[in-house]
Symmetry: C2
């Protein structure tokens, strides 16, 4: 039996484990699920004969080395910062490794040694990063093989709520880590390229510089820019490209409303507020507004952000019950971002029968035989239930498929890598499609950034 060690039995691993267990007879696999809390691992394993739960403290080097030594390939589903110790053991013990996280600087530095030993360390093979890399590179390589020259690449992903569960005015619920949503966009200026021009959007303008997208059968969405799109020049080999833009998808109107919080400073995670524990929601809001002995917090809020009383943004605030003076924050030494997250989680958490949705949208502009063309590729995936969520599937399936293909030698080029080579993306995308994760492609007229086809006058 070939042993696959999966480290970290979080919620996101259910689909991953399920996939591998289904293949375990045919492929002669045994799964070892290791978690600090053995109960978490046991829950995932159930009574399956080919799976075993173990207690695994990754900070105990003896335990960690033993578990890795006993296995044929390792899948690390730990938070990104914990991969490196596992990776070092995999290197010294000669085991292949799969993670869904961005390659860290430390991980990158193992590349030479990993190559020398002929090992495969596959990273960034979840959904974003992951499916985005594979689906984009497949189209880009196809365009190039036909002699096309890339002019434009735009890529957008969003973790959203499924249409049937889209029941609040924000058209949004937390389907993944809420903290990441609250602090999104704060890591530095958003940089990208539009028609050869470098563009920069500061945080305070990010949610007002959105663009629209239409997805067949799903309607209209909006996009705000991700931090650094320019790095994809190198990663995808798009050296002479004119337009390079990556972004995050939301339903239309989310960003305009979210911007209220940004403008007032309620998403700031850099300082703690005085008396945060005893503060009411109303006090919290009032902290970001000028003092007045007479005017209401509501009127100050409206006046400060120039919100008309019949603006839907106001209804969105009301829905959050954010002016309530009886609800206490109840968090000690909390940052504005932490308090806002708490308030939002009361309203934006998924209920038991809610489903999530992943939307991915790529645009490829290119020139071929003197003609400009565009291909749009879209993928929508909707969760089945609270276990087999769209997020767990689109992260777990590519990880599982990659692990098995590496184990079987279908993917064998050594090195610390991400899934941007044909050897990797072709078989994985094929199998993802068999599991319902497919892209719809459409050829369009190339409009670039002149969508109305107008000339200035």
């Amino acid at each position: 039996m070939r042993k696959i060690l999966i480290i970290g039995a979080g919620k996101s691993t259910s689909v991953l484990i399920d996939y591998l267990l289904k293949k375990s007879e045919v492929e002669n696999l045994q799964l070892i699920i290791g978690d600090l809390e053995v109960k978490n691992a046991e829950k995932m394993v159930g009574k399956h004969a080919r799976a075993k739960a173990i207690s695994l403290d990754i900070f105990n080097s003896g335990e960690r080395e033993k578990a890795i030594q006993d296995s044929d390939i390792i899948i690390s589903m730990l938070p990104a910062r914990f991969h490196i110790e596992v990776a070092k053991d995999c290197l010294s013990l000669g085991k292949n490794l799969v993670t869904a996280s961005y390659i860290s600087e430390e991980m990158k530095q193992l590349d030479e040694a990993v190559k020398k030993k002929g090992l495969v360390f596959m990273n960034e093979i979840g959904v974003d990063p992951g499916i985005d890399h594979m689906s984009a590179m497949q189209v880009i390589d196809r365009i190039r093989e036909k002699g096309g020259k890339m002019l434009l690449f735009e890529s957008f992903t969003g973790g959203l709520v499924a249409p049937e569960s889209d029941t609040n005015l924000w058209n949004y619920k937390f389907t993944w880590n809420p903290r990441n949503v609250v602090v999104a966009g704060q890591g530095g200026v958003a940089k990208f390229l539009q028609e050869g021009k470098f563009k920069y959007i500061p945080y305070n303008r990010l949610f007002r510089r959105t663009e629209f997208l239409h997805v067949k059968d799903y309607g209209k969405f909006e996009v705000y820019a991700n931090r650094n799109s320019l790095q994809y020049k190198n990663i995808y080999g798009l050296d002479d490209i004119l337009t390079l833009y990556r972004g995050t998808i939301r339903r239309v109107g989310f960003s305009r409303a979210w911007n209220m919080f940004v403008q007032l400073g309620m998403t700031d995670d850099s300082y703690t507020m005085e008396n945060s524990e005893e503060m009411s929601y109303r006090d919290f809001i009032n902290s970001f507004l000028p003092y007045s002995p007479t005017d209401s917090v509501e009127l100050k809020f409206r006046h400060n952000l120039k919100i008309d009383q019949d603006d839907i943004m106001w209804d969105k605030l009301m829905e959050l019950d954010i002016f309530n003076s009886n609800k206490k924050v109840g968090l000690k030494n909390a940052t504005p971002a932490e308090i806002l997250q708490k308030i939002l989680m009361e309203k934006w958490s998924l209920s038991n029968d809610d489903k999530d949705m992943i939307v991915m949208y790529h645009k490829f502009g290119f020139e071929i035989n003197g003609e400009k063309k565009q291909i749009d590729a879209t993928m929508v995936n909707i969760g089945e239930d609270q276990t087999s969520t769209a997020m767990a599937r689109t992260v777990g399936l590519p990880v599982a498929i990659a692990a098995l293909k590496i184990l079987n030698g279908t993917i064998s080029t050594p090195g610390v890598q991400i899934p941007i080579t044909k050897e990797v993306y072709d078989p994985i995308l094929k199998e993802l499609a068999e599991n319902g994760i497919t892209f719809r492609e459409e050829e369009k007229e190339y409009l670039g950034y002149n969508p109305f086809g107008e000339v200035g006058n």
Copy 2:
């Protein structure tokens, strides 16, 4: 002869040196002016018999120690980060020290040793910090001595252009370090207290949450909040105060226009722009605006910030020639803030006959014998010429006066300190007044933050 060593012969030391030279016969002083560039020091010294210029590299510990050993008191006019080495030598060689800079953490840690040796290390004795401390504490102590209880303290300072030199639409010219003006407000959220409520203003709202001030004979000004007003609770012993607010003074309309740069991200100093050297001013502006094949940079700017064509803000931009496509930035790997500074320096630099102006405004609210009262104290100082600027005078005079009083033993309480005790502020403020730096006090009705005396309805 008693020797005073002045380290750093920058532009700001002219008034300081001039004051001490005038006293040199009566007080039996010799001045030693040390600078890395001995020519700078020689310029300051002229042919005065009681002054000597020396070459002094403060990173050469031998040179530094010798110069300090030879003197009776040391005035360090170096940039703040360089004081500490001088301070350590002063401590070991048993010399008193005067600086105009904020006390650093390292400097603070010398306190115990400085006290043990009976030395005076006086810091923050320029204008802001400096005259603000002294003039505020004199009034606060007076109120307390009479049995009053402090309710409100607000304090504002601005380095501006004198009315007779106020010749541009921004009503502003650089009278001090331009860089500090461009990045002002970026060090973290502005925190303060209003009527017992903690208030927070993020950077992107800072220049829209201004308050107005009237100064007799000088008209209307506006104020934006400084970073952390709360620390003055400890510094001034204002533990139970309800309102505590410090800010920076500008002419009305400056902040609303400056906010255009803030909103677009043009004051960001955290990243360098691509191809900054070859960029035109117009390209620079366009980097912060969406791409369009047809619309002008001007229209995009107006639309993005919703500026009407007859808004004075637009004329302010025109005055800066900021849309010029022929003027090159010419700075390699420059940040937005560095580029903006360059553009502004072309228009906002003082010309030879321009004069500067320092404005300081304190409000003291207090309760005494069951009655609420308010005292407003204002100081305006206008420069004489490009040498005896208001800035050089209001920084140099208190430093010089303090040094002489310490030398003469009028100020003798040992320790690393700032000028907040009667022993220090009384004699210095008296002598500043003799030199034309005076405060006008006015008793007012206490209005707190209910300036219109209204009750909500």
